[in-house]
Symmetry: C2
Subunit: 340 residues, 2 copies
DNA sequence: TTGAAAGCGGTACCAC
DNA sequence: GTGGTACCGCTTTCAA
């Protein structure tokens, strides 16, 4: 048989042996360090090519101390909302010659921790985390050991760290005020689970907008729970029935908005105004087109990554907290007048 | 000043010193290997806790030979089409206690290679690649060295490797046949750039369906080029004008479909049938709802990852080629009768 | 200009 | 049971 077993990767040692030089000389050539004769370079390079040598960066970085990699912990890799965020982080990572570990927490605190600590065990230089947990004290030793950490979309729990958020309360306030300005007084609000920070902030914005307009808020107008289509549908139908149904709905995130659109599409005789938090593709193509309060997930990611690499470049100073504004985009569904 | 500098991470050596045991014993405790007294375990554990020690997996894996990580190279992390694919790969990786490096090639062959080789330099155990390049011979040494490699969505170029594809030609054939069955004879086809494998396959499917029905294909009915909204819009408008305009359109991917929907929405007086390749969210909520030929990106990723981990588990044998069927989903836009 | 030896932080093997 | 020592593949230090 031929040497099929010659599958083992050549190391610098192998290259050195073949080129008839010392190990360190190979290292110098590979890293393009000065102080090697052209002649030697050529001999080493020939050995490298012949053997198909490629430097083992894991070994290299172990020695160097930095791993040139960062970890990105998302709620769900497959959630379109986070796609531009990941992409923005990736772009900055690339610009800094840094590789990206990614993973989804699935909105599960344990998984978040497991994933984050796995990244730390690989000694990532930094972390960008969309928190699923509300207690990040488990990260204290890591941060103390020098792992730059930035939280995005939701704040960290129990520790003081860099964080980049959207102005969830302000955005919701604007969206609800928009409905009020169009004549609505009974406005429903369907939110994500209350333990999720953004959901809580949006609920706060809703209450503030109603209060600012001197409008009462009935318990029945508010729903927060799982964002499954079934639950959202049931809640919305409940709000739309009874003697004093809501005439408008504020949907707490894009999944809720989409479900609401489906429900409302089935009752064209009774138009209900709708404003949703988070923009989504094709919102403008629906009839009516959907008015939304849009965050900028790409900017969220970009800002977080910038903060991270600034820390990695040695920036000290206290943790910073950045809050990005939201933008109301009127498209039609939020400008429907109340039925009565 | 207090010892702020005590930021250095403790190593097993430190733990050993503090616990008054040998290095190897610490290793045993950390890895829960048998053969250590409960008493010793307790002493070591105490030292671990006191020091906040956490094993350096990079060092560990360097020694072990495997890195327990794989690389995923996509065309674009932010493309919603690939989101379920990534998620599926991630899920399997997690099930195999493997970490995931991700990156986007941006449809650029050089970037694909750069990224892939960077992953290889980190000695990933395997790779899942959505090819942007059509020449993957640069991977030969890596594959020979044992990096399990699976290509998804598009075939590899110049090398024989595992690959998972959708039946692009077959799916398109079905979609075009569907339009033909509804009475259309002049059917336009707007595709992505012809050097992209999937685009070429879909074009083939279109031609086959037309030929099977004995229908001619005029050059003017086919367009392939950039999928920018401007270009797609111009091409579609061209096809819809003139003495013998097309009465139906097959859109070669979801971006093209969406642009087509926008264009067609502006000319409600002249309904044109539309079938698009790739399903997309809210396709059912548009009016008319959009008939599509759907791939299953999640299944694409799952199949690829399964193949990968099977290889990693030692499965030998020649490269396999899996082709997943597409599914026609009739929703309305594809069932519009020809104008004439 | 070049290379030997120590070390990065662990694991493997083999004595004690 | 426990620990010494070589070693994973590379970089660093320093002497030749």
């Amino acid at each position: 048989m031929t040497d099929i077993a010659r599958t083992a990767r050549p190391t610098m040692k192998d290259v050195a042996a073949r080129a008839g030089v010392g190990l360190k000389t190979v290292s110098r050539v590979v890293n393009e360090e000065p102080g090697v004769t052209d002649d030697t370079i050529a001999r080493v390079q020939a050995a490298i090519d012949a053997l198909g040598f490629r430097r083992n960066d894991s070994a290299r970085l172990l020695r160097k101390g930095r791993t040139a990699s960062i970890g990105l912990v998302l709620e769900d890799l497959a959630d379109p909302f986070y796609a531009p965020l990941s992409r923005a982080v990736e772009d900055l990572a690339r610009a800094h010659s840094t590789l990206l570990f990614t993973g989804s927490s699935a909105e599960n605190a344990e998984r978040e921790q497991e994933l984050t600590l796995a990244f730390c065990a690989r000694r990532v230089d930094g972390l960008v985390i969309v928190p699923a947990s509300d207690d990040h004290r488990y990260l204290e030793p890591e941060i103390a050991a020098g792992v730059a950490t930035v939280f995005v979309d939701r704040p960290a729990g129990g520790i003081d760290a860099d964080v980049v958020l959207s102005d969830n309360a302000g955005g919701t306030r604007d969206g609800v005020a928009h409905l009020i300005a169009h004549g609505h007084r009974r406005i429903g609000f369907i939110a994500d689970q209350p333990h999720i920070h953004t959901a809580a902030q949006r609920l706060r914005g809703y209450r503030e907008a109603m209060a600012a307009a001197g409008l009462p808020v009935h318990d029945g107008w508010i729903s927060s729970g799982p964002t499954t289509p079934e639950h959202v549908r049931a809640e919305l139908e409940r709000m739309l029935s009874g003697p004093e149904p809501v005439t408008a709905l504020f949907a707490g995130n894009n999944r809720i908005t989409v479900t609401a659109v489906r429900v409302l599409a089935n009752r064209p005789a009774h138009p209900v105004a709708l404003v949703g938090f988070d923009d989504f593709e094709l919102a403008d193509l629906l009839r009516p087109a959907i008015t939304v309060v849009a965050q900028d997930p790409g900017e969220l990611g970009r800002t977080a990554a910038r903060l991270l690499f600034r820390r990695l470049d040695g920036s000290a100073g206290p943790p910073s907290r950045v809050e990005l504004p939201c933008r109301l985009i009127a498209r039609g569904s939020g400008e429907i007048a109340p039925a009565a």
